[in-house]
């Protein structure tokens, strides 16, 4: 996976390594290859496994995991209440459909907009750090849940019921397009000066400011972009599900899954959250529904293994040498050069 050789444009000093033309070509290959691979795999999904509800939910989780990737991976803020933006997207799009009778595409746009507005209102939370930030977002998402679940204009008592605006196939195609667009957004964040600024802020906000980075604005933009992805995910979920109560959209398990999927695949990479979601959500589909008790056990074990042995996520195994876990480097070296062994 060549896309993990990231940021060569600013890391490689002039006069070292390959020629500029080859370098630029490799860089563009690293950007286009993940788009083609992810688009092709998800596009071929229905012919591999004919369950559109599962595949669309998978795409929705990929969007959520990419949202976590941007806000946690690049800025270091862990949003436990990330589900709040998903719920905001669900209710923003649903209420627009019910009250204004908007079409499906407008509903998706309004879902994203609702989440962005919610993120803007919550942006002062970015002044907090670490566990305080995580808990504050959690509280905010629950506050939003209680409002939505108890107000009559949000159909808190009766539950939401929406007309079907897209066929399951159309909705899946839209979801795959959304995943590819999200991937483009993450690739931009990864390779641009904006992404470099985010990594700088994550490293040391005071020093980044002294390098001319507008810390507050840069961090807020990342926060709004991640909320927009969750909002689109929410709107797609609303269009797919069409009848629901507020408990499901604001279920904290969704936050936990999105965070675990992103971390399992590897944050700060473009395809990590995609790989993590595909592997873990497929596992969930395979055993989580028939044997939920074992599934939770396996999930718990996987998280322990991740923290201990793969802190950089699955994709770190194929990343640059400095990103790979030490045990993996040893294993690979021994296999590559057995004669060195005593």
């Amino acid at each position: 996976m060549p896309e993990l050789e990231s940021l060569e444009d600013v890391t490689t000093p002039p006069g070292t390594g390959a020629s500029p033309a080859r370098h630029a070509a490799a860089r563009w290959f690293g950007r286009i290859a993940p788009l083609v691979v992810v688009g092709a795999v998800l596009g071929a999904g229905p012919s591999l496994y004919n369950n559109l509800a599962f595949l669309t939910t998978l795409a929705i989780y990929i969007l959520l995991a990419q949202g976590v990737n941007i806000v946690y991976g690049f800025t270091g803020y862990l949003p436990f209440g990330f589900v709040g933006f998903f719920g905001a997207g669900i209710y923003g799009s649903s209420l627009a459909i019910v009250y204004w009778h908007v079409g499906g595409y407008a509903a998706i746009a309004l879902g994203a907009l609702t989440s962005v507005v919610a993120a803007l209102i919550l942006s002062p939370l970015l002044r907090l750090s670490g566990a305080y930030f995580a808990l504050a977002t959690l509280a905010a998402s629950q506050a939003l849940y209680f409002i939505v679940a108890n107000e009559s204009w949000t159909f808190g008592e009766s539950g939401m019921s929406l007309p079907l605006l897209f066929s399951p196939t159309a909705l899946y195609v839209i979801s795959v397009v959304a995943v590819v667009v999200a991937l483009i957004v993450v690739l931009y964040v990864r390779d641009s000066h904006f992404g470099l600024s985010l990594r700088a802020i994550r490293s040391d906000a005071v020093s980044a400011a002294m390098a001319g980075v507008n810390v507050v604005r840069t961090r807020t933009i990342a926060w709004l972009v991640s909320a927009a992805l969750a909002g689109v995910a929410g709107a797609l979920w609303a269009l797919m599900t069409s009848a629901f109560y507020a408990e499901t959209p604001f279920d904290l398990t969704i936050s936990v899954y999105a965070i675990v999927f992103a971390l399992f695949g590897g944050v700060r990479t473009a395809v990590g959250p995609v790989v993590g979601t595909v592997v873990l959500y497929s596992l969930y589909q395979y055993i989580g529904i028939s044997n939920p008790q074992y599934f939770e056990l396996i999930y718990g074990l996987l998280i322990v293994v991740l923290v201990l042995f793969l802190p950089g996520g699955l994709t770190s195994l194929v990343g640059g040498r400095g990103d790979r876990p030490a045990w993996w480097n040893r294993l690979v070296r021994r296999r590559a050069a057995p004669e060195v062994a005593p």
């Binding site: 000093p13 040391d204 020093s207 002294m210 001319g212």
Partner: protein, 235 residues
């Protein structure tokens, strides 16, 4: 001639603790001003105030006649003021080259140094390395390179010499002299008098947050007030 940097009656308090009071100083283009004083006398606090890390409680700061009091660090960076940190703070998650590539050069600053900052400080050969792989001396040089990449007109240098070997000290003193020759205004905080002698024209001595002396370094060393705060009266 009006000064490039004018600091007037600046004060900074943290709750009831007065860290700085009545600090006024001028720095002209190409001037190198030393800032000396015992530990806790407010040298680093003054640099933090002048570089936007803290807002002053009182007083004004002007750069080329423009009021820049209390502006955020990134704005000051854009206007041509920059600094190094006492404990170097290079961006640890980034490579050496990325630390410098991050910096958008000041648009208002006039000091186009006309050289590659990594070449200048001597870190070009480790450009692709991560910060964690650098020695502490190299991290200090990277801090300086990061500050210079912003093309500042005024550079605050906070104890760049501390902890360096004699040869590294000579290297750094040479760099600062070269910068001064190119017209940069320097404000240098330093405890090492031998180092200071090589790089500054004038010094301001701070004690308990207030300037008590301004003049040349030789005059400062002979001044009874300065001797008193460093050595005490009954030494």
């Amino acid at each position: 001639m009006s000064a490039l940097l004018e600091v007037r009656d600046v004060a900074k308090s943290f709750g009831a603790f007065v860290a700085l009071s009545g600090v006024s100083l001028d720095v002209a283009e190409g001037q190198s001003l030393g800032l000396v004083g015992p530990n806790g006398s407010g040298k680093t606090t003054l640099i933090n105030v002048l570089s936007g890390v803290y807002k002053p409680t009182h007083g004004t700061v002007r750069l080329r006649g423009r009021d820049v009091t209390g502006l955020a660090s990134h704005r000051l960076c854009g206007l041509g003021m920059n600094r190094t940190f006492q404990v170097p703070r290079p961006l640890a998650g980034l490579t050496v080259a990325e630390n410098v590539a991050l910096v958008r050069p000041s648009r208002h600053g006039t000091a186009d140094l006309g050289f590659d900052v990594l070449e200048f400080v001597g870190l070009a050969r480790v450009a692709a390395r991560r910060v964690a792989a650098l020695t502490s001396g190299e991290q200090k040089l990277l801090d300086l390179a990061r500050a210079l990449a912003a093309r500042p007109d005024v550079l605050f240098v906070d104890e760049l010499g501390a902890g360096l070997s004699p040869s590294e000290l000579d290297h750094v003193a040479g760099l600062l002299r070269a910068l001064r020759e190119r017209g940069l205004a320097l404000v240098v905080v330093e405890h090492l008098m031998g180092f200071l002698e090589q790089v500054v024209d004038q010094v301001v001595v701070l004690n308990a947050g207030t300037p008590i002396f301004a003049g040349t370094l030789r005059q400062a060393i002979a001044d009874p007030r300065v001797i008193e705060i460093f050595l005490g009266t009954h030494a």
